[in-house]
């Protein structure tokens, strides 16, 4: 690990000022410490933000508000989260181990780095880690990689589970930086790799995630997260789907579908959603909609199966959501 100076500011302002000067935030450390040990990350200054008042979970009218420092486990166990947005709780407990969920913050979860093995290898080309060094995955082993949103420069999958749920639920986030505060949809946090895969998110220098706001609604109750993987637990998704349905009088009025494990960012499928609206919540409708999911997919040598698994996962998740009383 590269040597670094650790700072522990007491105020958000001090933290932001330090970060604007080039320091890195650290909360749970589950991603950062791991990558620092491999020297994939080499921050020289770290700002421990755990003293900042950015925790807590509350309800504001229709919105569930989750502090950026709230831990994954804390959010998953929260009564309001379970009541108002069970999809979030479900996606959280399917992600990481109980120990990691006790450590990892919500903000850190959204900003976690990719799991591409070559990203972690200093002796492999990786445009994300070292711009211009090439992508060892495109011609290497890529069974776990993305089929949507890829470029000739990067094919790494975004690994977060809860981000998929938040994108499906139209969550927004509030961030604070040297220029003050702003809010935007969580979906807009994530960039496509394009020819700048080292730029992963849209935060400006020094910006700090303050909270995540999730709008409620009747769709939230018929919402499920399905994570498909070879091991029953403690594995990143091959494919995952967060879906929510609003069904009235036997007709789908509203549908939300976002998928993980297949995209270079959490992937919302608005075409599939549109296809469902106005139809009955039955398997045929689900299959017709899911067929659109892998349109435009660019499978790699070893991950063709994801194009097949993706629609199947969506169908199954929709069926599960349909079964929710």
């Amino acid at each position: 690990m590269f040597p670094f100076v650790l700072e522990k500011p007491d105020s958000t302002e001090d933290a932001i000022a330090a970060a604007a000067a080039g320091a890195r935030y650290i909360a749970g450390g589950t991603t950062l410490v791991d990558l620092m040990r491999e020297e994939v990350e080499r921050p020289e200054r770290l700002i421990d933000i755990n003293r900042l008042p950015l925790g807590g979970i509350r309800v504001e009218g229709e919105h569930l508000v989750i502090g950026a420092l709230a831990r994954m486990a804390e959010v998953a166990a929260d009564a309001n989260v379970q009541r108002l947005q069970p999809l979030i709780a479900e996606s959280l407990i399917e992600g990481a181990s109980p120990q990691l969920r006790n450590m990892a913050s919500m903000g850190g979860n959204l900003l976690q780095r990719v799991r591409c093995p070559y990203f972690r290898m200093l002796d492999a080309g990786c445009n994300k880690r070292t711009p211009g060094s090439g992508c060892a995955a495109i011609d290497g082993l890529n069974a776990g990689h993305a089929i949507l949103g890829t470029s000739d420069h990067c094919v790494a999958t975004h690994p977060s589970d809860v981000a998929v749920a938040l994108v499906a639920l139209d969550a927004t986030m509030r961030v604070r930086g040297p220029q003050g505060e702003r809010s935007f949809p969580v979906e807009e946090l994530f960039r496509l790799p394009g020819d700048t895969p080292h730029l992963e998110h849209t935060l400006l220098p020094g910006e700090l995630i303050v909270e995540i706001r999730v709008p409620g609604g009747p769709h939230s109750r018929r919402a499920r997260y399905l994570k498909v993987r070879d091991r029953a637990s403690y594995e990143f998704a091959l494919v995952s789907a967060a879906v929510a349905l609003l069904v009235e009088d036997g007709v789908i009025r509203q549908a939300r579908i976002a998928v993980g494990g297949v995209g270079t960012r959490p992937w919302r499928l608005r075409d599939c959603e549109a296809e469902l609206v106005g139809k009955g919540p039955d398997r045929q409708a689900f299959e017709e909609a899911a067929r659109l999911a892998a349109r435009g997919a660019r499978p790699l040598r070893h991950n063709h199966f994801k194009a097949e698994l993706l629609p199947r996962t969506i169908v199954r998740a929709l069926e599960m959501a349909g079964e929710v009383a």
Partner: protein, 203 residues
């Protein structure tokens, strides 16, 4: 063959285009790092003293420690305090062998920087036995064959304490789900589940 039984993989450079030379600058650290960083590393191996002094309560004992901020709680326990009961299985947060309780919560100590936990209350496997009497969960692990080689056992037990405290030991299935952050390569899982269930019932 294992990855692609049916096709021959054409060999090509795995290294970056920049490095595609017959003689590669090997510690490809170089290739991976922006040039200015490399320059800084090789020209100034200056001693950076970032050490921090902090106190940490381990199993009820207060320790005042000077730590390198890079040190994990795991390394401080094992190498500084010689509390070697907590094990380093992967040092990647992916096996659970290093699980301890920090302020009552189970965490993996390999990914936890000690310098961020000044003032923390840490409980490790060494602190469970009181006056020669085993904790009920320790007893249950022996009784139910919740171990074989014993290497993951301290982490399993600390994780089990967390699992019980969190209220996730209601049924064998629930225990299996909430104990899946601790790998046991010997496969003592059935005994581990039985031990956690038994101890949860006793407490």
């Amino acid at each position: 063959m294992a990855e692609n039984p049916s096709e021959l993989h054409l060999p090509g450079p795995i290294m970056s285009r920049r490095e595609a030379l017959q003689v590669t600058a090997g510690a490809v650290t170089l290739a991976a790092l922006p040039p200015e960083t490399v320059a800084a590393t090789s020209s100034s191996p200056a001693v950076v003293k970032n050490d921090m002094t902090l106190t940490m309560t381990v199993n009820g004992r207060i320790h005042t420690l000077t730590v390198d901020p890079r040190q994990s709680v795991l390394d401080v326990l094992r190498e500084t305090l010689d509390l070697t009961g907590t094990k380093k299985g992967c040092n990647q947060g992916a096996c659970g062998a290093c699980t301890v309780l920090v302020d009552g919560k189970r965490i993996v100590s390999c990914l936890t920087l000690a310098a961020m936990h000044g003032g923390a209350q840490i409980e490790t496997i060494e602190g469970l036995e009181k006056d020669g009497v085993l904790h009920p969960l320790q007893e249950a692990f022996v009784e139910h064959e919740g171990l074989q080689c014993g290497f993951c056992t301290p982490g399993q037990i600390m994780s089990g304490l967390g699992c019980i405290a969190e209220g996730h030991a209601g049924s064998p299935q629930e225990i299996q789900f909430w104990m899946s952050g601790n790998i046991c390569r010997c496969g003592a899982y059935p005994g581990i589940v039985a031990a956690v269930a038994d101890a949860a019932g006793r407490t």
